[in-house]
């Protein structure tokens, strides 16, 4: 209740401040370099000799047929894969030049620097407000006023504020699927990451909600580096700046979207794009 009244106060004064005030656009936002990455789960080899370079302030789409290791690659970026029993990861992953798999690197810090948007929206079992406040508090935002400011800010950033402003304290599970996914995005952004990872983030959504998420990504790329796995080629065509094509655990082709999607060099890429297999 207090938070609701606070929100109306905030709404009048400070919250209308532009996005930049809370999260200054980091001009040299994160780049990610993967060197010689190999992943095994149990005896099975999932990723082999992966080398990629992910540019900052761009939307990088990872495409490829099912089971080619797209999602696995994405999960190695924020070191989520190692929570899976039997996973062995070797190689280097340089986040702004620093290897995140080096010994002594705090896994919490790595995860905080990357927000993950999963295939199906997965709100936490709390209210809309608490969903975003949870992450803020984890990383040291204290005080109701400060937390509320962030909650409102990130709800606005994802265009959800007007839809949920009266329902901040209802359970997040009552929102529509599309709203839930935007809430998850807001929740991820509220931790103030440098990179957004999206794992087929629109595949469970209706076309209109998917388009909203895509538009958000196009706007957010000014401030973040975005990496998304997608199964929909048309989506990659619409929003990708940079494309990585994978096949059977290997990176087949990588480069600017205009090259890979329109003038692929590799035969496999050509076949995939023309729809010979999927």
């Amino acid at each position: 209740m207090i938070a609701t009244s606070l929100s109306s106060v905030l709404l009048r004064e400070e919250v209308s401040a532009p996005l930049e005030l809370l999260h200054a656009p980091n001009m040299d936002a994160a780049t990610l370099k993967v060197r010689n990455l190999n992943v095994h789960i149990g005896e099975q080899s999932i990723l082999r000799d992966v080398h990629v370079h992910i540019p900052s302030h761009k939307i990088t789409c990872i495409i490829g047929p099912s089971g080619c290791g797209k999602s696995t690659l994405l999960k190695t970026f924020n070191r989520l894969l190692e929570t899976q029993p039997g996973a062995r990861i070797t190689g280097e992953l340089l986040l702004n030049g620093e290897n995140i798999y080096r010994e002594g690197v705090e896994v919490i810090d790595v995860r905080k620097r990357m927000g993950l948007l999963s295939q199906r929206p997965c709100p936490l079992p709390m209210s809309v407000y608490e969903n975003i406040a949870f992450g803020c508090r984890l990383h040291g935002t204290r005080g109701r006023r400060k937390v509320m400011r962030k909650v409102v800010h990130y709800l606005q950033a994802t265009g959800l504020w007007d839809e949920v402003r009266d329902r901040l304290h209802t359970p997040a599970s009552r929102l529509s699927i599309g709203q839930q996914q935007r809430l998850c995005l807001a929740r991820g952004l509220a931790v103030e990451p440098e990179i957004i990872l999206a794992d087929e983030a629109t595949s469970a959504l209706d076309p209109i909600s998917s388009r909203i998420i895509e538009d958000l990504f196009l706007r957010l790329r000014q401030q973040y580096t975005i990496i998304m796995v997608t199964h929909t080629l048309s989506q990659a065509v619409r929003i990708a700046d940079h494309v990585i094509f994978m096949y059977l655990g290997r990176v087949v082709e990588e480069g600017p979207a205009s090259e890979v999607l329109h003038h692929p060099k590799h035969k496999l890429t050509q076949e995939y794009l023309s729809g010979s297999f999927s």
Binding site: N78, T83, I108, R120, C122, L124, P125, P171, A172
Partner: protein
């Protein structure tokens, strides 16, 4: 063809019969309790402690046993929760599904679940004698908490195992530690925890053997944790073995009170579970 129809009919009748038997047994218990207990149940019964000659049919009530039972139940439930929440979180968040330790701990739940309550009572009694303690409220609470721990932990473990992998990943990717994830898990499984508590509370308040030697019996309401405490199951036991018919009737009244308490708790916890269901993400 006719044989098949006959077979169908016979089994249908058998199934209906079995279902009616279950319902009938429940109704008979309720009937017996009401028939003998209700006339003996009075305001005095639930608001006063036994007076002189109570066990010969004179005035007094069972407030000592009601309060004692509620205290032991509450104490044991809290103690058991304090023990089972960490154990279940450790099993589900910190250990792998294939972990040997997890297997052994879960196996010990099952073994403990099969141990009869009198054995818990005897074990508790032995420890108390060793430590030089008398039968007391605290002793009863601890032994009953041991008795209900496997029930609670197992029920909780089952719901905790259903915690969605996606939610685990979502929480971790926010940069949460496993310890911080516990809060999310607890909120997700809150209805399951309420159910686990209900299951064990019913057992805690109804058990006579575990409290016989550990909590003792007294005619007054305990005022400190070191004093012995009376319990409803023992009140039933002692009064039922009396030759005086009025006292026997009071045993049924005590049984009726016990049943009503369990019923109220069950309704309350259902309401509670429903209230906390709303945050759960399916």
């Amino acid at each position: 063809m006719r044989l098949k129809l006959l077979e169908q009919k016979i089994f249908r009748i058998l199934m209906i019969g079995a279902s009616c038997l279950v319902l009938g047994v429940l109704l008979m218990i309720v009937y017996a309790l009401l028939r003998r207990g209700l006339p003996a149940l009075s305001w005095e019964m639930i608001t006063t402690v036994p007076g002189g000659g109570f066990y010969l049919g004179k005035e007094g009530g069972l407030l000592n046993a009601i309060v004692g039972s509620l205290m032991i139940m509450a104490g044991a439930t809290i103690l058991s929760l304090a023990l089972s929440v960490p154990v279940v979180m450790f099993l589900n968040l910190y250990l792998d599904k294939t972990s040997r330790l997890a297997y052994l701990v879960r196996l010990s739940f099952d073994v403990l679940l099969g141990v009869p309550s009198i054995v818990y009572g005897a074990f508790g009694f032995m420890v108390m004698v060793f430590l030089g303690l008398r039968a007391s409220l605290t002793g009863g609470m601890i032994v009953v908490s041991l008795l209900i721990f496997p029930i609670m932990a197992r029920a909780m473990d089952e719901v905790a195992a259903m915690f969605p992998k996606e939610m685990k990943e979502a929480t971790l990717s926010l940069g949460a530690t496993k310890f911080e994830m516990v809060r999310v898990v607890l909120r997700q499984i809150a209805p399951g925890i309420a159910t686990a508590c209900l299951l064990s509370v019913g057992r805690a308040i109804g058990d006579a053997a575990a409290v016989l030697f550990t909590a003792g019996y007294t005619d007054s309401i305990p005022t400190s944790p070191g004093q012995p405490a009376a319990t409803l199951p023992l009140a039933i036991f002692f009064q039922l073995s009396s030759p005086v018919p009025q006292v026997q009737d009071r045993a049924y009244a005590a049984a009726l009170i016990l049943t009503i308490i369990v019923l109220v708790l069950s309704v309350l916890s259902r309401w509670f579970a429903h209230k906390y269901q709303k945050n759960k993400v399916s």
